[in-house]
Amino acid sequence: MSEPVIDVSDLTRRFGAKTALAAVNVSVPRGAVYGLVGANGAGKTTFIKHLLGLLRPDGGRVRVFGLDPVAEPVAVLSRIGYLSEENDLPGWMTVQELTRYSRALYPGWVDAYAEELRQMFALDPAARIKTLSKGQKARAGLLIALAYRPELLVLDEPSSGLDPIVRRDILGAVIRTIAHEGRTVLFSSHLLEEVEQVADHVAMISQGRVALCAPLDEILRSHGSLEKAFLACVGANAASEPPA
């Protein structure tokens, strides 16, 4: 069996007195479409930041492509396509400037594929990022995350702010394409129907812990639907939380 693309063992992270992640174990095999679900504030983004080297663990081990993302950020990040949940593309750039800048950073950049994506996403190359709608900004972010055909695509709440049609058509097509080419996708979401549509593995995070981690088929067999599984594993914990 090939080495997992993402190998996280006993990952622990604290922010002051709050434990954001507690002994999280996740192993993402190559070629998988891995869904990370959880309520808002469960720790999904914190987990993803560890994969990108943006956070150092307080305990445990994080390996991506067998490498430590903190110690070797260039080697790891050059193989990851990342779409952030934050809207942080430089607003002053035009779409063309964004692609021109990104092209220089990724040796595997394919101009033809980038242009294909741009046309598919209907992005005006002269348009400034800050003038784009939220959906178009997400498409621009996807463009630069996909154009160099990364081995691992990490999407943090990719559907946040997108209308259902765009969500269904763009993300589903992209993820299926990447999965078919043997690349790996990890995406986080709290929209269960979306996860059920495209993922083949699911990890449910609740209050910083992995409540459930299994192939989607297995979850559907045991719980009937992802929502029921979520409510069973995560909802019970959420119900026991003190009101805000």
Partner: protein, 857 residues
């Protein structure tokens, strides 16, 4: 909070709280210094421009610009952008446009006016600068109000805001400056300024209304008709490398800030230049100095924004995921920022390089500047003047870059508390410089303490710097942030820069009595090493947040700092140590005694031909101010003459550890006792002929020789004075015994003027005319009134008073055009002390004179 007014007030207060606290602390410190420390009678004197500038003008300028930027929301975005800088998030509030424009303007103008009043009452009036209170407050308020209009207005073209700001604000400034020049009455000024704020309010309402409804004009299409298409993107090739791409991004994000701010400030300074053209030259030079200091001053202000990863994230001190997740190493990210800082520096200085000559040309003040340049060239020589000027300009350029990089170090940590503390510390140190300079100028004890510590201060700073650099280098190596090759290359580049700068210092100060180890330490301190090296650590701390865990240790274990890099950066330090030891060994004394309860030293030379059975003459040769026995030995070359003629020569040392080494002549005159004790010691140790003890000295040492002729006339047979500086009046000398005297003095001596007057080294003691002094001596010796004059060399005239009592002749050698030097002596820094003449050998002539005179028993 129940009203928009309160909400606006709270928001401004909350955002400004640190700035207001800092401003409040500064004003409190200023008030304390002015009224309690200095007192009403000795407040900060505007004539002491440096102190006044650092204590009052610079902090007030900082505060003025800070208030301007904050109340106009100018820090919220790109000044060159087309859209309004008024925060768009506020357009959706249930507040009228009038209120959106009115409340920030009201609070801003009120704070600005109050700031002026406080500054005038606490900073200017106590210093005797009785600036009016009302119309400048109105002017400040109007300036801010129009700045708000200009930043809130949307524009049709990128960069138009900057142009409009420069033109409009320059216009206002021109009116005010003209009013000052023509001494317009305050009532007229008030009448001029008062309507400005209401007018600006109306314009601001229009601007905010326009921005609120998204009415941003777009005139780029008009320019497209000239052949440039704004809609279609211009075809551009790709970046050749990731590094170039990142450098481009950094320039676009931050690189324009410094040049833009410089472009805004320079026109006001050009106006000042215009006003100053008919004023005394000092005002022109103060304005020029201000222009030259503008980029480094503004760089300190801009520095912390350079560390941000996005200009739009106004309060974001961390890295955005977009930047942090680019496949670039931390070192590459930092390198891009450093390159951007250099490009930004060069762009700002390009503006100064264009504006300054243009301003001088338009104002017709070139002749003033050229005349001063000629005087400097005449003083130190044209090559030195040029190198000095180039060094100053390069130093200012480097300082500008350093300011930006220093801001990077703190800004890239991403820790808000650290960043704001750094700003507070910087402002505090700026405020403290003024009082520190003031205390030094008033307190002799403080000056002496500083003088004594001067050789050690750079040594301690270098030790700290090198220690920090070694620690940083180790962390960079262990964290694999920089490879061995990069570390070695960086270290080698630093060493080359240090040695080059040391070479320039050594050439500039050639033959000056300065330890070369000191120059090398200054060069080590001047070339940045530790702080730029620490920037990758700061960024890594920001990029990978959290405690270091065992899983993040590199597989091969921690790497030590490459030995090559360590050896390279140690080289200049080791060389400085060697130079210091060598200097100490070459210049150490070889004798000591206790006199008047003090430990005193001297350098003794006994010729090989000395025969204890035969009494030998003794020459006591005293060094000049701030020199030392070995230096006097090198300058006078008495040892050579002593070897040829078989006499002993001793070079006593002025007392050290109390500031510059000078001879103490008045009061208890402990140095007279020292010389007497020295003679006793030598008479006890050697066979000294008591009838043939002589004394001479250079500069301050010559003054001491005069004192010995008046206090030890029963022991000193004759004295010699070379470029002497007489600090005591002739009337002080009550001993009327005729003492033979030989003197040498150059007419071009700037430090002890031949015809008397003020010396730059002793500005409070006018020095006597040397011919008059010589004539007084001749009268004391009962010589004839008319001296014999003869030419000795092409540039040397000899004046001899004869017919004196006891044959105590008085001779003066005048070296025409000669400087503050020992004629025929060792090398001297002519750029500092003036021309050295070899037309006469002062030492040999003095010995010949001494040989002809002895004490009669």
């Amino acid at each position: 909070m129940r009203s928009p007014a309160a909400a606006f007030a709270w928001e401004f207060g909350h955002r400004l709280r640190w700035g207001l606290i800092a401003l409040g602390v500064y004003l409190a410190v200023l008030a304390t210094v002015q009224f309690l420390v200095l007192g009403p009678r000795s407040a900060l004197d505007p004539a002491r421009t440096t102190t006044f500038a650092f204590m009052v003008l610079v902090p007030l300028s900082f505060a003025f610009m800070y208030l301007l930027a904050v109340f106009s929301y100018g820090l919220a975005g790109d000044l060159a952008a087309r859209h309004s800088l008024y925060p768009a998030r506020m357009f959706t509030l249930p507040v009228s446009t009038a209120a959106l424009a009115g409340w920030p303007m009201l609070y801003g103008t009120t704070v600005m006016a109050a700031f002026w009043v406080a500054a005038a009452l606490l900073g200017l009036w106590p210093s005797g600068v009785h600036a009016p209170l009302f119309w400048p407050a109105l002017f400040g308020a109007a300036f801010l109000a129009w700045m708000q209009v200009l930043t809130w207005m949307p524009y049709g073209l990128p960069g138009m805001r900057v142009v409009a700001a420069v033109l409009w604000l320059t216009g206002i400034d021109a009116v005010v400056v003209a009013a000052i020049e023509y001494q317009v009455r305050e009532s007229v000024m008030v009448a001029l300024m008062a309507p400005q704020v209401p007018l600006a309010y109306l314009a601001a309402r229009f601007a905010v209304a326009r921005a609120r409804r998204g009415d941003v004009p777009d005139w780029r299409g008009a320019f497209a008709r000239l052949g440039r298409t704004a809609a279609a993107p211009r075809a551009r090739g790709g970046f050749p490398s990731a590094a170039r791409a990142q450098a481009w991004l950094e320039w676009r994000q931050h690189g324009r800030s410094l040049p833009v701010w410089t472009a805004i400030v320079l026109p006001f300074q050009l106006l000042l230049l215009f006003v100053a053209r008919d004023e005394p030259a000092v005002l022109t030079f103060v304005t020029l100095a201000g222009m030259l200091l503008t980029p480094p001053f503004l760089a300190a202000f801009v520095a912390l924004t350079v560390g941000r990863s996005s200009p739009e994230a106004a309060h974001s001190y961390g890295l955005t995921p977009f930047t942090a997740t680019r496949p670039l190493g931390t070192a590459a990210l930092v390198a891009a920022k450093l390159r951007m800082a250099m490009a930004s520096t060069l762009a700002a200085w390009l503006l100064v390089a264009v504006a300054l000559p243009l301003g001088l040309t338009l104002c017709g003040t070139w002749p003033v500047v050229l005349e001063r340049a000629r005087r400097l060239a005449g003083f130190v020589g044209a090559p030195r003047a040029v190198v000095f000027a180039v060094l100053c300009l390069l130093g200012l350029l480097a300082t500008t870059w350093k300011q930006l990089v220093q801001g990077l170090l703190v800004g890239l940590t991403g820790r808000e508390g650290l960043i704001k503390a750094s700003v507070l510390l910087r402002l505090s140190s700026l405020i403290l410089i003024g009082p520190a300079v003031h205390v030094l100028s008033r307190s002799q004890e403080a000056r002496i303490a500083l003088w004594n510590a001067a050789p050690w201060i750079p040594a301690v700073l270098v030790a700290l710097k090198m220690g920090a650099a070694a620690w940083i280098g180790t962390r960079l190596s262990r964290g694999r942030l920089l490879g061995a090759r990069a570390l070695v290359t960086g270290a080698a580049s630093w060493v080359v820069a240090v040695m080059a700068l040391y070479g320039v210092f050594a050439w500039l100060l050639a033959a000056a009595p300065v330890a070369h180890s000191f120059l090398l330490l200054l060069a080590i301190l001047a070339v940045p090493l530790a702080r730029p090296s620490a920037v990758p650590l700061a960024l890594a701390w920001n990029r990978h947040q959290g405690a270091r865990a065992p899983s993040t240790r590199v597989r091969s274990g921690p790497r030590p700092l490459p030995r090559t890099a360590l050896a390279l950066v140690s080289m200049p330090v080791a060389l400085a140590l060697v130079l210091a030891v060598s200097f100490h060994v070459r210049n150490r004394n070889n004798g000591a005694l206790v006199s008047s309860g003090e430990a005193r030293e001297y350098l003794l030379h006994v010729p090989k031909s000395y025969d204890p059975s035969r009494p030998a003459p003794l020459v006591i040769s005293m060094h000049g101010a701030d020199l030392w026995p070995a230096a006097q030995m090198e300058i006078s070359r008495w040892n050579t003459v002593a070897d040829e003629n078989g006499f002993i020569v001793v070079y006593p040392s002025g007392v050290g550890g109390r500031g510059p080494r000078v001879w103490r002549m008045d009061g208890e005159a402990p140095d007279v006792h020292f010389i007497a004790d020295l003679i006793d010691r030598l008479e006890a140790s050697y066979n000294i002929d008591p009838r043939r003890i002589y004394a001479d000295g250079l500069s301050n040492g010559g003054g001491m020789a005069f004192v010995l002729s008046c206090t030890l006339s029963d022991r000193v047979a004759a004295v010699g004075l070379v470029a002497s500086a007489q600090l005591l009046p002739w009337s002080w000398c009550t001993d009327r015994r005729p003492v033979p005297m030989i003197a040498f003095h150059g007419t071009g001596d700037r430090l002890a003027p031949y015809h008397g007057g003020t010396s730059p080294v002793v500005p409070r003691h006018p020095l006597p005319s040397i011919p008059d002094w010589t004539a007084s001596w001749a009268r004391r010796n009962g010589c004839g009134a008319k001296p014999d004059e003869s030419a000795v060399a092409a540039d040397v005239t000899r004046l001899e008073y004869t017919g004196c009592s006891n044959d105590a002749a008085v001779v003066l050698y005048t070296i025409h055009g000669g400087g503050h030097t020992w004629p025929g002596g060792g090398p001297a820094p002519e750029w500092l002390v003036g021309r050295m003449s070899n037309g006469v050998d002062a030492t040999r002539r003095t010995w010949a004179f001494f040989g002809a005179h002895s004490l009669s028993r």
